[in-house]
């Protein structure tokens, strides 16, 4: 059994600490009166940043072939279509939301 060169462990611990820091930021921002529009932007912005760290570092996309990035990004591309086409209906429908 021949072992491959040892990977540095520091990036994973740094990534873990940053993820926890972002969790703290998310909780703190929830209690800040930053307005009805900035709250969801802050919460989902933090979640997206956390997801990017998870994908690139913990799911090891860093330094991987382009094909793997395409596969990893495909779901999000289709998600944009889902949100875009779905929103067209709700944004143009008369009588929604019901009051």
């Amino acid at each position: 059994m021949s072992a491959r060169p040892r990977e540095p462990v520091a990036p994973y611990f740094i990534g873990w600490a940053v993820l926890l820091l972002l969790l703290g930021l998310s909780v703190l921002s929830a209690y800040e009166p930053i307005g009805p529009y900035l709250h969801p932007i802050a919460n989902f912005g933090i979640a997206l940043t956390q997801a990017a760290i998870m994908y690139i570092l913990f799911m090891r996309l860093r330094g991987r072939p382009t094909l793997k990035w395409i596969f990893a990004g495909a779901g999000f591309l289709w998600l944009i279509f889902l949100f875009g086409l779905g929103a067209v209906d709700y944004l143009t429908r008369k009588g929604f939301p019901l009051r």
Binding site: M54, F58, G86
Partner: protein
Amino acid sequence: MPSARTLRPGMQYADLEQQSETAQLGMWLFLATEVLFFGSLIFAYTVYRSAYGHQFQLAGHDSFILLGSVNQAILVTSSLTMVLALRAARAGEQRALVWLLCATAALGLAFLGVKGYEYARDAASHALPAIDFVFKPGYRAPAEMFWTFYLISTGLHALHLSIGIVLVLIFAVRAARGAFSPAYDGPLEVVGLYWSFVDTVWFFLFACIYPLGRVMT
């Protein structure tokens, strides 16, 4: 199926590395379908939150942000132990690999424990639609919609995590029996992708549920 002992790839692959890369691409493709699976739930949430923001805030205020945060910290730590397990496999450290996989599964179980406690607290405050739901002062129908989203999305997430725990435990047993080596760690990579993806889903569910209504706007 190759093993660390035989180290022969399946007949359709040139070598073990190609086999591992193919398996990983297959998992990424599956995860793309999972993005759409949870994404459609979050889309429905977005539509109704934008339509009934005040009611969603009222309901979100009654969720337990401390328990949700503890659970997120547990999941983030489990992703760390999982990636360290993969590192141990590549370094040929079998003992560390087994222990790190067990730690990952234990953290997954800890998450389910906290979630179970949270569901019990939700049940005590009659916030489980279709099971036991009572309209609190100020609540109207969309508040129940929020709690329905909460129950379905966190329940589906817990189901995914449970599958992950079973997989990780199976792989821990296989690792203890010497099934993996630095030359053959492809299946571990695949289960690692699944595990970290399920953790990633929690980031978005957390953003949907827990910060809501802490400051009423």
